[in-house]
């Protein structure tokens, strides 16, 4: 049995080689750049540069985008997964299919399409003025960035949440109704708490990537609004200051790890409950 298990472990080696080559070694390289200045001497100033007013502003803007995107995704996802739970098998499958469909399209292509839709003489304003509402100018604002990230990351919120909610037994919901709970109470006391593990995976998959999606900010923000990712990109590509770029990356990474540790800890708590639960 032990031998068999050991053999199975060998199957992981291709991935181990891959992750050492393309994750671990690059991380070490970045860390080395971050801790050295241009002359090769040890310094913390690259990492601490995150608190420079310009960089800090970008970091805060990134947090706003990520937080807003996560919140909007949650608000869109819950009604959807609750409706999905009620649908029959066919309806559920086609809804999930439509949800996943945009994930198969190229990311840049989707952003360029959104740019066309949202631009001041784009499709959105054409439709609005035809309807007599008049045009609105949201291109190159945080609103269009927000639309871009929500569009991109919504499926990553819906799918884990859908898994969690559809795993809740109908009998449990009926039992709550039977004991006098109205629909809203059933959601607050039963469905929401039982869906927290799914919600946590959704948050980790939406919050972190939306915080750093600098290409979205580039294309839909017109280069005027900068996320932390944009600053890092500029350090590497325009200023050619790899030390500074690496330093800011490490600072961001530390920040992400801290917020993840917070979420994951909560997630594990509810997981532990699950374990005794099932």
């Amino acid at each position: 049995m032990d031998k068999y298990l050991n053999k199975r472990k060998n199957l992981a080696y291709p991935y181990v080689v891959w992750s050492v080559g393309f994750t671990v070694i690059p991380l070490i390289v970045i860390l080395r750049y971050a801790l050295l200045d241009r002359t090769g001497a040890f310094t913390l100033s690259n990492i601490l540069a995150i608190v420079d007013p310009v960089n800090l502003k970008a970091l805060i803007f990134s947090l706003e985008i990520a937080g807003g995107c996560t919140l909007i995704c949650i608000l869109l996802a819950y009604p959807l997964v609750l409706a999905l739970k009620r649908l029959n098998f066919g309806g559920r499958r086609s809804t999930i299919f439509i949800l996943i469909l945009p994930m198969w399209m190229n990311f840049i292509l989707k952003l360029l399409a959104w740019q066309m839709i949202l631009s001041s003489n784009g499709i959105l304003n054409l439709v609005l003025s035809r309807m007599g509402i008049g045009s609105i100018d949201i291109s190159n604002t945080y609103i269009s960035i927000m639309i871009g990230v929500v569009y991109d990351y919504l499926p990553y919120m819906v799918l884990p949440l859908y898994d969690a909610v559809s795993a809740i037994d109908d009998d449990i919901i009926e039992a709550a109704e039977d004991l006098g709970a109205k629909k809203l109470t059933v959601f607050g006391r039963i469905i929401f708490p039982l869906s927290i593990p799914g919600l946590m995976s959704g948050i980790t998959m939406v919050f972190v990537p939306s915080m750093t999606s600098f290409v979205t900010a580039d294309i839909l923000g017109g280069g005027k609004l900068q996320l932390v990712g944009n600053i890092i990109e500029q350090e590497f590509i325009q200023s050619m200051d790899w030390n500074m770029g690496a330093g800011l990356s490490v600072a961001l990474m530390i920040f992400v790890l801290i917020s993840m540790a917070f979420t994951v800890e909560k997630h594990e708590q509810s997981d532990r409950q699950e374990e005794t639960a099932w």
């Binding site: 709550a176 039977d178 004991l179 005794t276 639960a277």
Partner: protein, 357 residues
Amino acid sequence: MGNIILELRGISKSFDGKKILDDLTLDIEKNEFVTLLGPSGCGKSTLLRIIGGFVKPDSGQVFFEGQDITLLPPEKRQVHTVFQKYSLFPHMNVSDNIAFGLKLKKKPKEYINEKVRYALHLVNMDGYGDRMTTSLSGGQQQRIAIARAIVNEPKMLLLDEPLGALDLKLRHEMQRELMRIKHEVGITFVYVTHDQEEALTMSDRIVVMNQGIIQQMGTSKSIYDEPQNAFVADFIGDSNIINGIMLKDRLVLIQGIEVECVDEGFDANEPVDVVIRPEDLIIGTKGSGFTNGIVTNLIYKGAYYDISVTAGTHEWSVQSNVPAAVNSEVSLSIDPENIQIMRKPKSSDEEVIDKLG
């Protein structure tokens, strides 16, 4: 009539064009233990879900204490359900599960604590309040589910095959527990099961259902001793059911043999179903009974022997305290009083027995 708590009037329900309940009418009395008994798909669970408010009937009305509650949602009914799969809330401990309904009603904290303690005591689970429900065994979980329903003082408790997932010994224990709890709290129980032994043990009244209609209603004894049709006879306990012809009053022809019985009032030469309980057949030496046959099978069942006797084309099922050797020739005899004669079913609804066997 003042004693009636629930009236079901002409309830019909179809799913996907299949008729589940057909114009069913039933009264349930206050403090009664009524069991809805029938094979799976007979409509008993749907009827229970209609009483609980989870399913709306296509036609017909439900009255609770004289008030029409047909369209009232489940959370507003004074009726609580105990589900087969227990359906406890997995993210709450035992106390929070039991207190769920009381908390929704915003009862004071001391009152809730007192009630939870009482409910735990009632179901013999003192001291389990802080346990997570999912660390409990099936039997314990079902006790908590019962406590969770009863603590709200419903006027009627609906139980949907609550013991179906438990093993035999535990099931017997829980049957006694349920009867004790019913006795202590004094509320109406409507119990759904497909287990005839469970129904016979616990019920004040049994409602035997099949194909969406009530086949027979009555006490355990009346249903067992005097089944009104071949379906009920076959479903309640074991039975030999065989075609016969009523020659005249008190004389029936079975497989070409004239046998004395006590039934009267049939047409001359009317085809009938003859029902004989296996424990009523007596095995004797060849030639001493109404028919002779060969023992084809013998199974020891603990309290009795299950013996198959083939006579002509029919295989009789006999239960006896004494064994009979396989392949030996024996006779079968019966007390005329133990023969039940039934009219052949007129509607297709009652013909299930033909399909069964």
